[in-house]
Subunit: 367 residues, 4 copies
């Protein structure tokens, strides 16, 4: 298994560096007959694209995706889909100052320790730019899911910026597309704008928490023990740049609950399917989906490329102070929203396909 | 890849049900020449074993592990190591009441929805008993690591029970082995004992947070993008029964930090290796280990098998009330401590082997 | 992926040594609801069992298989099935003479070169005894296929012993179970008996060619490019001990054909499915099954453990002469017949499951 | 694991269709620090390139490979290497006649049966053009092997065309580069030229046998039971378009040998390493390399696209006669020679890396 791949039947291998000729994703295992063209994918890339407002890096690239294979006459053929995004804005000179110094909190030093090679151009493979390839691949997954699970709806949003959490009572799905932070709380959007402005001006950055919800996933997805759908969701999110924590349902807060509080009670719904009194489980029991909303959250750490001076060392082991100029995101979590959605789409599609492969028999009478 | 396996070069496949004839682990990829016998593994199993005090299930089994293959004249041969634990205390009658009803918060319903088959005997494959196989496999990993990374030390402990967190100022590594909760805070151990007693008597249960720390792991382990060591640690922990959240280093709290606060500053140590002012990164940058302590935490939800009555449905879709009798853990997180350690050992060994395979060249001058 | 595993969705990991406590197979990915018990598997093991006539090794073991997990109330549950066969006849003393010497043509020397460890007890992991585990696993696959592809029929037979090929004109399927060589040619069975008697008495051994035919496999199994069903069949057969060549359909003989002769012409059958004028393709085009018989052959080299003296070296590098006493097969190919059948069953089941996973849409109007 | 990938630590995923915008290979797991540029790869592609003489298809394409990622300042970085070859000569009109008809012996019908989608443009994914991507990836493997195993030499050649085998007594390695058939027998080259001319003029085609030899591979590569190096070589070769049989060492001929004849006797060489009296084993015992030449052969069937009329059916199930016009290879085996070399290079590199990962200890004193 390539260490740059994820997925079992629907597999995605991302490739490419921040400042190389191109980056992309090799997408294998998409079922045949799915309508697909580049515009369908471009739509999601445009959401992730930097430079759209003052809260994201000012690097400006069209991030235009090309489909090089696997699609014929507007439909997937069942063969590998190669997605390529050319890098066009490669101002490497911005990074010349950090050729010798390691940025604290950045992968500079560990890549050097592991590989003995330093691609100083904007982080090379460790750049958040790699996530563009994920978003493109997620777009393929979404189109396949439209065919296979038409009712599925995947939505990501920001629920915390720095220490500031949203008010969950004020949750409004329609707000998400209305503000630059993809937050469902209109008041939070206003407050965060002021907060982030100040941080940005001071050359600092801040972390965030993203929540991704999938509505309409069928019961029965996932498999014990190491193919649990919640494990796979956690894996997918943790693999995103800068993510330091992942939660399913009640998440870390599950530790505080009693068994009585935690157990989501079960009733029969009008459509003959089980309904639940609550969703502490985040839609997963024993690694298998219940049919409730799949809910996950992940924490994105603050960008380490900041204007604040920090102590570090050089490649030759000398002490040094570093300030990272260049065009960076004050809250890189913002751009992680569409990435989280893309990962969720990939995991769900993979499990829909796996479920079909695993189960040759009737399922139980309820699901 | 078997869905009951984890690992890339050091792979573990667990098998077996709570009340079947036996359970175990097929361990492949252990290097040859590692001294190994059953007692070395038994030691770890004894730590996880239920029934040792009033805070864990009263099911009493010796959990004696047999090595069926892969060891010759006291050494591993490089071939698969089969570990088997016979089930001896299979009081299936305890569960007869729940043959028809689904326990809220338990995998009963999803297994039924997915497989159309119900192994009502103590949860079958979804039982926490599966973790015995993990602990045995982790024991193999530990012995291999003793040879390959002699300085490595892996320690798990409980840092939160229900809403009660430890006082980190009072952290004392030596306390961990002194109390039934494996907590480094002596005062917390006392407080939790009283708290848990009460919960247990009321037939309720509660969640917990476990922290696992690996000291002495070399820099350079892990690989971008989907083979990151922190992702693999998170995957391993999330795959444990009842885990709902995983954190690396600052974890979910990273969202609250500014870039200035989060960036662990770098200095040169006296031994020519980098040292850091702090460890918000949890020992990992860009998915590759820094040489600092690897730190992860995970939240374990409360046992869903409780004496408190809850609403549920039956297999035939009728409403019902359920009380789960039987012998259960009031805080199953306690027994998750050695499981977390075992998973950490497996992941680190896998990455030590992977690193050797990936890198055919010199590493950089610092690492 | 464990290096002792094969398969993608239906995976088999074999474990165990010739003279250890036990050997077996961890079988994962079997669909739920398949009727299964130990007797169903024992039937196939009995066919492979040594000591049944004078043409196979006189080692006598019951080779009784136990199912340790994955089956509940007579049905598979969808969880891993652990199969264990205890070793009971472990006369290690037979091998004491070869502790220091490497048998020419045997894996003794390469295991030593690779692992620096020598399990001299009957070949350890490299013993043909490993194939018992494959046969047991293949039995599971056969039971699942009975449910999923009821018309499928898998038959192996011997078509060549030493230089003596069968007369294909005399092919009679019913003969296969009537002679100790599983050959469809009654006359060949008689001739081979005399030939092998002589070889056996002289302490020599000889090779063979096995053919395995699967009738009734549906069209559409397999996937380009590295998941071709013919590649997977070849992989499975080549992984069997002592196999040195594998052929699909016309096999090596395809080199001699012209395009005109090789192309199996296509017609419409009465049932609306394609029929073919011939089967040079062995039932596979472009890695995908056509619906014709899947046909593969493999060559098994002669046993290297013979009474004839051969030149070799010792572990310490001294020249030596070696005669391998002990109980060996004069034509180990005989016992490879049920092994080849088992591997074919595993590959076909895996591809049936994969096909279900890969294809979420309608297939074409013909298949 | 993507079904369009092969390899464990060094993985190659090929993508692209005959007449799409581009095709290529995603190469992951190449160690860092290997000198690499596009010219190094182009050299091997030029060997495989069609249209170089009258014996290969007259399609003319530069087949220029671009390296899109994974290389920085002339060296591999340890991150995925994306190789892209644009398709420039896409005369789709040549194929318009076969949009409805299935070519006998071709994957047309099975792709249709499996996917329900027909990429009639030159075979789409099933075209031999896919092998260009393999050759490019093999070029990467060769460069890495230059660093890791400097003495390794991999050479492929044709040893049989149609019924005409070479005279092995006349084997001359230097002849291989001197004739259009890459055969080591000068006389055969002359005879085959006349034979193939006639076939080509008559619109027919013919099969061939290719032999690939790797000199200088160290002992100890490969691993029992399903990670045997000979199994992996067989898998790699069988996955090539049109291959119907694979042999290691004595191959299918091993069936004819006695144990006495087959066992390669062992002696101590002057350099303290074992030497062998013969190489029936093809350099592999028990799935592990001995240090002798690794020898494999594979049979390539004749091209099914021929000018001879054949009976077939259409997509709608009507009987039809078909003649395949267009530009095809009378002996596609010729172009399989560099492909076989490339696959051998990939397998050996993968096993060199695996061996480093698997073995953490000293190896035995001989190897």
């Amino acid at each position: 298994m390539s260490i740059n791949s994820f997925g079992r039947l629907f597999t995605v291998t991302t490739w490419g560096e921040s400042h190389g000729p191109a980056l992309g994703a090799t997408v294998d295992g998409c079922p045949p007959g799915v309508p697909l063209d580049a515009e369908m994918l471009q739509r999601w890339l445009d959401l992730r694209k930097p430079g759209q407002n003052k809260y994201t890096t000012q690097r400006r690239e069209p991030d235009a995706v090309e489909i090089l294979s696997g699609v014929f006459e507007g439909q997937t053929t069942g063969t590998p889909i190669q997605l390529m995004i050319r890098n066009t804005d490669q101002r490497s000179k911005d990074y010349s100052d950090i050729m010798e110094k390691f940025r604290p909190g950045h992968a500079d030093i560990t890549y050097w320790q592991k590989y003995g090679i330093r691609d100083y151009r904007g982080g090379g493979r460790s750049s958040a730019r790699e996530t563009a390839a994920r978003v493109a691949a997620g777009g393929v997954a979404r189109e396949a899911l439209k065919v296979l699970v038409p009712d599925l709806e995947i939505t990501g949003c920001m629920v915390q910026m720095g220490p500031h959490k949203i008010n969950r009572e004020a949750w409004d799905w329609d707000q998400i597309a209305q503000n630059p932070f993809w937050t469902p709380d209109a008041q939070a959007a206003q407050d965060w704008a002021a907060y982030l402005d100040e941080l940005r001006k001071s050359g600092n950055s801040v972390g965030a928490v993203i929540e991704v919800v999938a509505k309409g996933a069928p019961a029965g997805l996932g498999a014990p023990i190491y193919g649990k759908i919640d494990t796979d969701i956690a894996t997918a999110m943790m693999s995103i740049n800068a993510v330091k924590g992942v939660e399913i349902g009640a998440g870390m807060g599950a530790a505080e609950l009693t068994g009585e509080d935690n157990a989501d009670e079960i009733f029969m719904g009008n459509d003959g399917k089980p309904v639940y009194s609550s969703n502490h489980a985040g839609g997963v029991l024993g690694g298998i989906s219940t049919g409730q909303d799949l809910v996950c959250r992940f924490a994105v750490k603050p960008t380490s490329s900041i204007l604040k001076p920090r102590q570090t060392i050089t490649k030759s082991g000398q002490s040094a102070e570093i300030i990272t100029k260049g065009r960076h995101d004050p809250c890189v979590g913002i751009r992680a929203v569409p990435v989280g959605e893309a990962m969720m789409a990939c995991v769900i599609l993979d499990h829909v396909l796996l479920h079909r492969g695993q189960i040759g028999q009737n399922r139980g009478p309820i699901g």
